[in-house]
């Protein structure tokens, strides 16, 4: 029977924690090495440090950098929730895409499948990449490192937006600002792009105008969408069913969370059901008004008079209040339930608008464009000039690697704390990404999924009970006649509707994973149905499962008496269920070595029957066969 694979499966959760712990140790180790190296370089090489003044980072950029740095760190911590490794693809990624067009589902499900093939590596990589980007943004205040941090936010934000948020749901029919359209991660990208702008753009009010104008157009577009008839937002209830907004709020209220928050959301859902038209009218008017107010900030760019400052300020305050209300009452904070991946779109959106507002009146630049990280190293190099020059004759006679390390070490010693922290952040990202990248080169799933479903293989050592049965081609086959080959043996019902076809595919998959070694292996199934055991049925099953082209596949059957004896010898139960139920039989696989000894027993309930679980069982079977082949 199908046992399923729960999100909080103890094996997967333990493996996920273990992976995080191991990678966490590496992260701390890298930190320690960097710190020791940096302090050492400063103490021993005594590089000169920059004394050139740098202008202050504008407030808008600080807000974006630190704000989104904190959000990325929060997202990374949310990714470390126990259910994430197993649950993200099936509970978050695929449901998010369910109402989108087929092509979106294909794209998103591809990512979900990739994740589910290597859940531990994928889950851990998401944690470290997001923590790393967060630290990177917070640490890198200026210069190349800081701008690169912004670009990293854009890149990973796009990955999250496309695969994790199904393009923010912009292709799905229920698109609405109230529930986070066009996706939180798109604002992460926008913020990253702004952070990555060169310093020469920092001090012009045009940047603020551009940001507010774009956001203004966005709000107006969302107002039009919200007002569009026929989408169910104007009705609290419709023909006895909940309207679109009421239904969405209702589903959020059912998320596991502290009762006080559920109560707020639920109360708003009831209010929306009773006053659907008024709620939507308010949303449309508020979105349109905020959009118009923000758009007006761009008027000077088209030669018109700038609006009064109070208008922009008032609009931004109204937007912040609306975002906060939506975040609490409709988006329900976004991160509850054990599978919440981020605080949803309102906070990032508010940060972007607020940054745009602050950028309208930037602080004047105090110094020419300076890149501290680079500049900090420059004087050191400049100061070191005489020494370098003095060393020229020797250097000319030596390979570059003999001279470069000293220069690098001096440059490293001259780097600021922030640059060292940013370098550490990059290392965190790499520590997270590398195992996942490595796992992706393997097209087979991790065997831990099979172990999570059925536990570990049990080692055995006894002489396999003999049998003589008939294969799908009518030939007599005995256990003795298969001596010299490793046997993967299982018991299948040819008219089974779920587990047996999956197990057959797992055997077929194992044959493919074994590759050339498959010549030394025989895949053997014995019928496990006391009523339907004629050869016509083993043949029909083979055709159904495309096993006819597998040369080392044998599907054996015999008389009921013969089969019952084999079932007894191999401890197989085959129970006839009443009233239209299929045969309930033991799902098991044995590995029998070339000398006819049973060496391994694998519980073989195939679980949810997904591509990843099937592949995982194939790999588990292959590894068991290879182990027996090695030891025999």
């Amino acid at each position: 029977m199908n046992s399923g694979l729960n999100d909080d499966n103890a094996t997967l959760v333990a493996a996920f924690r273990s992976a995080l712990l191991h990678q966490g140790i590496y992260v701390l180790l890298v930190f320690a090495v960097l710190a020791v190296a940096w302090v050492s370089a400063r103490e021993w090489l005594r590089p000169a440090r920059s004394s050139r003044p740098a202008g202050p980072e504008p407030a808008w950029r600080q807000l974006l950098r630190i704000g989104f740095g904190i959000i990325w760190i929060l997202d990374g911590l949310l990714q470390a929730q126990p259910a994430m490794a197993a649950g993200l693809p099936s509970q978050v990624i695929e449901p998010t895409a369910a109402s989108s067009p087929t092509w979106v589902q294909h794209v998103v499900n591809w990512a979900g499948t990739s994740w589910s093939y290597h859940p531990i590596q994928a889950g851990a990589s998401a944690v470290w990449i997001q923590l790393g980007i967060g630290v990177w943004l917070i640490a890198g205040a200026r210069g190349r490192w800081s701008r690169l941090g912004g670009l990293a936010s854009v890149a990973w934000g796009l990955v999250v937006w496309v695969f994790g948020e199904s393009f923010g749901g912009i292709f799905a029919p229920g698109l609405t600002w109230l529930f986070g359209a066009p996706g939180a991660a798109l604002f992460y990208c926008a913020a990253g792009a702004l952070i990555a702008l060169p310093e020469r753009t920092w001090h012009s009010p045009r940047l603020g105008r551009a940001v507010l104008s774009v956001m203004g157009l966005f709000f107006i577009g969302m107002a039009v969408l919200q007002a569009w008839p026929g989408r169910g937002f104007w009705q609290g209830t419709l023909h006895g069913h909940q309207g679109t907004l009421t239904s969405m709020v209702g589903s959020m209220a059912s998320t596991p969370q502290p009762s006080v928050f559920a109560g707020w959301v639920s109360s708003f859902g009831s209010f929306s059901a009773a006053h659907g038209f008024a709620v939507n009218l308010f949303a449309v008017v508020a979105l349109a008004a905020i959009g118009a107010g923000l758009l007006s900030a761009g008027l000077p760019e088209v030669g018109l008079r700038a609006p009064a400052p109070w208008l922009i300020k008032g609009t931004v305050v109204a937007m912040l209040v609306l975002c906060l209300a939506d975040w609490v009452l409709i988006e329900d904070f976004g991160f509850f339930g054990g599978l919440g991946t981020d605080p949803n779109s309102m906070i990032p959106m508010a940060l972007v608008v607020l940054a745009g507002y602050l950028a309208l009146s930037p602080a004047p630049a105090l110094a020419p464009a300076a890149e501290p990280a680079t500049t900090a190293a420059q004087p050191a190099t400049a100061n070191a000039e005489p020494a370098t020059t003095a060393a020229q004759p020797a250097a000319a006679a030596q390979p570059a690697w003999r001279t470069q390390p000293a220069r690098l070490a001096r440059a490293f010693g001259a780097a600021s704390t922030r640059v060292v922290l940013a370098a550490w952040a990059v290392a965190i990202v790499l520590i997270g990404a590398a195992p996942m990248a490595l796992a992706q080169t393997n097209r087979n799933a991790d065997p831990i999924i099979a172990q999570a479903i059925d536990g570990n293989a049990a080692p055995l050592d006894f002489k396999a009970p003999a049998f003589t049965l008939t294969d799908q081609n009518g030939r007599q086959v005995s256990l003795a006649s298969l001596r010299g080959k490793v046997l993967l043996l299982t018991f299948l019902d040819p008219v089974c509707t779920n587990d047996c076809p999956e197990i057959a595919q797992e055997f077929r998959g194992a044959d493919q994973v074994l590759g050339a070694s498959a010549r030394r292996v025989e895949l053997v199934a014995i019928v496990a149905n006391p009523l339907y055991h004629a050869i016509a049925y083993t043949r029909a099953f083979d055709v159904q499962e495309r096993m006819t082209g597998v040369p080392n596949w044998l599907y054996l059957t015999g008389s009921l008496a013969q089969l019952e004896q084999v079932w007894k010898n191999y401890a197989i139960a085959a129970q006839i269920l009443p009233a239209g139920g299929m045969i309930a039989h033991t799902d098991v696989a044995y590995v029998i070595d070339a000398s006819g000894h049973t060496r391994t027993e694998l519980d073989f309930d195939p679980g949810p029957g997904t591509a990843s679980s099937e592949s995982s069982f194939s790999v588990e079977l292959t590894q068991a066969a290879e182990q027996v082949m090695k030891s025999s």
């Binding site: 912009i170 969408l225 569009w228 760019e301 779920n498 009233a579």
Partner: protein
């Protein structure tokens, strides 16, 4: 950016928003022609030549398809109590299709479900008291009460997605009798505009008969295999309905002849073939059918959507509308003495209601242990 350019940009964004909104708005109502009438659900009952009654009903009441299992009940000749006779060993949550070769024999086909892609068969020669497995149909039986037909000498016709398969006897290999495409390419098929096979039967002399939905109005798609070529063998549709698309909902052997149920627009018509000619009933107004029943002597019973039912005593008789049916009525069962039963199925409870002058009265209840969870 000039004011003009900014205006165009704003208009562009608004247009995009409108387009996106359009993606989520309701689709326009379809103006396509309605599909050809499809066979009714598999719930049915029939009378064997030995006088036994059989009923096929779905039980379980679960929203999950794989948790609802089909059950076969028999009321053996000369007895008053229905008995559970579902063949064991195969999950029947995809549906059961039955065919009677005559006497106390019955062949049952299991429609594929979940990962099972072909149809196992079970045969009984003692009114369902015992069953043995028979050779499978190598692809799945279609969802039609007459997807399996049994003829003299043990021959069988099985309707599958590929077409009609002929087995000379139980357990023998299958050969292709016809496909939808090849039948549609015959002269008779072209006159009908065959769109799908809906049923199969044998005449008493063993001639294979196929039923199909026609895309040409006013043509009843019934075809006989006359020495390897297919010819039209259906009844003429009443003139009042000859502008409608006609679907053959049921086609089964009845005594020495055949009985067919036709749907023409929103009308149901029964037709009887006595070996030489067809007799056609008056139409019964009914948009869709919930189940059909074939009784002794060419009697017919139908349950319409809702709780309405009607019967026809046989050729030349008029439709008799029944009192409101009991709750959960799944099919009617017609007895040889004109007795009408309504078989109700709710969860694991099978209930037989008998029609008396005062209305429906409870005749029997059978509790069935539905194997919930066995296929999930």
């Amino acid at each position: 950016m000039s004011a003009r350019q900014a205006g165009w940009a704003a208009a562009g964004v608004l247009a995009a928003a409108v387009a996106v909104a359009g993606c989520g708005s309701k689709p326009a109502p379809s103006t396509a022609t309605p599909p050809a009438p499809a066979p009714p659900p598999l719930a049915t009952s029939f009378a064997s030549t030995a006088g036994s009654s059989w009923a096929v009903v779905e039980m379980g009441g679960s929203a999950a398809q794989e948790e609802d299992f089909w059950q076969l009940f028999v009321l053996p000749a000369g007895t008053a109590k229905w008995k559970l006779a579902t063949p064991l060993g195969v999950a029947d949550n995809g549906g059961l299709v039955v065919a009677s070769p005559g006497g106390e024999s019955l062949v049952t086909g299991f429609r594929p479900s979940q990962l099972l892609a072909y149809s196992p068969l079970a045969a009984s020669s003692d009114d369902g008291a015992s069953w043995s497995s028979a050779g499978p149909v190598n692809s799945g039986l279609t969802s039609a009460p007459d997807a399996l037909a049994a003829g003299p000498g043990g021959s069988l016709i099985a309707l599958t997605s590929g077409g009609a398969e002929l087995g000379q006897r139980l357990g023998a290999s299958w050969t292709r009798l016809s496909s939808t495409r090849s039948l549609a390419a015959t002269q008779a098929g072209r006159a009908c505009g065959v769109s799908a096979l809906t049923g199969a039967a044998f005449t008493s002399s063993g001639t294979p008969i196929l039923a199909a939905s026609c895309s040409r109005p006013g043509v009843a798609g019934i075809f006989a295999d006359r020495g390897g070529s297919w010819s039209a063998a259906g009844p003429a549709v009443p003139a009042s309905l000859d502008h409608q698309d006609v679907g053959v909902l049921r086609l089964t052997a009845a005594g020495p002849g055949l009985i067919a149920l036709l749907q023409a627009g929103k009308n149901i018509v029964a037709a009887w073939y006595d070996g030489t000619r067809w007799t056609v009933s008056a139409p019964l107004h009914a948009a869709t059918l919930k189940s059909t029943a074939i009784g002794p002597g060419g009697s017919v019973g139908v349950i319409l959507n809702g709780s309405h039912g009607a019967t026809l005593a046989g050729p030349g008789a008029a439709w008799h509308v029944l009192p409101a049916l009991p709750k959960w009525a799944a099919t009617l069962a017609l007895g040889s003495s004109g007795q009408v039963d309504a078989i109700a199925a709710n969860g694991g409870t099978f209930t037989d209601w008998r029609l008396a002058p005062a209305g429906w009265s409870l005749a029997q209840t059978v509790h069935v242990a539905i194997p919930y969870g066995s296929s999930s």
